[in-house]
Subunit: 336 residues, 2 copies
Amino acid sequence: MKLNRLGEFGLIENIRRRTPVGRDVRIGIGDDAASVKNRGDSSLITADLLIEGSHFDLRWTSLRDLGHKALAVNLSDIAAMGGIPDYVILSLGIPAHFDSEDIDAFYRGFEELAAECCVALVGGDTNAAEKLIISVCVIGHSSAKPVQRRGAKAGDDIYVTGTLGDSALGLKLLRRDRRNSTRKGHPAVTLLARHHRPTPRLAAGAQLAKKKLATAMIDVSDGLLQDLGHICRASAIGALIEAARLPLSPAYRALAGKEGCGDALSGGEDYELLFCARRQNRTQIEKLSIRAQVAITRIGACVPADRGIVVLDPSGKAVPMRIQGHDHFKKARLSV
Amino acid sequence: MKLNRLGEFGLIENIRRRTPVGRDVRIGIGDDAASVKNRGDSSLITADLLIEGSHFDLRWTSLRDLGHKALAVNLSDIAAMGGIPDYVILSLGIPAHFDSEDIDAFYRGFEELAAECCVALVGGDTNAAEKLIISVCVIGHSSAKPVQRRGAKAGDDIYVTGTLGDSALGLKLLRRDRRNSTRKGHPAVTLLARHHRPTPRLAAGAQLAKKKLATAMIDVSDGLLQDLGHICRASAIGALIEAARLPLSPAYRALAGKEGCGDALSGGEDYELLFCARRQNRTQIEKLSIRAQVAITRIGACVPADRGIVVLDPSGKAVPMRIQGHDHFKKARLSV
């Protein structure tokens, strides 16, 4: 059904009906504000605004994947603080040519991940817009002191969860040769799945915070080097990254070709956790990796701030880095 | 300075510097998520998405006013639950032609109201966009049971704070004759101030909740009749409104002409509180009006659901109403 027949209130009612009100959601969708139970004495809050043409392209992103991703990138921010997500607010600007099946597909992707991560959709706003706009705000809590970007010291190890570069390389291949890279069985399909449906590393983040193992943490959204730069600035340290240690997926290795580890270093949208930890905790980190069911790889070490960020290339040559990555204004107008 | 020279991180740093971290904000702008102290055992959460061309027009809205309004409409939702706002998240999609002075003006308007209402800006997201997009999420608490839309009973009185219709009539005059309606001393200027800088009725809302005087409440954003319709549906009641009782400002009376109370009934964007209360509490409501320093006017009564919503015109003639007001999808594509 076209949205202008269903109407805003019909749409809200549709969303409300499929969103159960749980024990901790005292007032859910359909009033002026939601009322939710607080867990613990403080809350974590994060928000992301995703705009069609700038953050996603509906020519190659399904609405169901987009629903997943819009929530995942926010959950990833909560994971990066070592937090546990509880509630989510979703506001949409919807183009007139959308119909209610489109919105259903989006909500299905969104809700599947919400259910998996025990996050309750409690409210939001719906509007007409020329392009799809997705605004998500997640509220969570932390059972321990949240892990900030500051706190790392020279001598700490640097770790990353999962693998790096899959998302950026997948997107690059898709743009270059859409038909081939989406062909069943092609390794690019694995990379693209990582681009479209990133996994927020909630278990690893929460356990790192609870056990006080991470001295500083961030999620890799703008590219490893740029996000490492945020930790370095906030912690007043430098960093030495060993390129040979970067965790690369088999698909990435098969397809990266002469681009090597470029996308792993600065590709962006990995949504893996990048964190620092004291050297004496290496065994504990290994154990945590097994418990959280995600690979955790030591990729370098924190050094004094005056050394900046240096990447040791596979031959052992030190390459000082000018931090690159994603800046929403500096990159000449992006794709908008 | 142009934003593409300042860059996203320069902009975030500018915002961070002018946003003090208070006692209750443990981690503010500049990390993956904010960490804030919870007040009470539950939180109120509300969000609004404002899109250029649909919700505002920069030809006649200053960025400073827009900053005020973007926050005010969210605070109004918290007021409508009888809550107290604490924290705000602000995400912006910013057109490339904006410069940092534009954004400064917006933040100035936003922060002035935030300071006045003791609300702390704790985070958000900034992006490039073709048109200005403003996404606000406010988190608050309630010192009493939040007042919902349901809860009113036939026989209850119906009240509204402040005056109705100013905002819609002001906008109409502005569109009709911009030069004249913005001329200093012209009564339309008073109306337009109400359109551009609505006042969230926080004190009245919180006191109505605390004293358990409101049986149901909503803020008038889509027009009195439409928002009354929400209360009627949620409370399973009908309503009888006496047009002669509608609170109209002197400027409205001077300028409404033959349109009479049309804009007061269904104009929208008043951001006044519409609520129901037991008849025996009339004296208490009067006292509360003085304490909260806002006019509160009794405009009708709740009746059984099967009577629907009826407006008694000034001559005493009953006019059954088809609820009109704002629907973001049904109004043929709005102004987008």
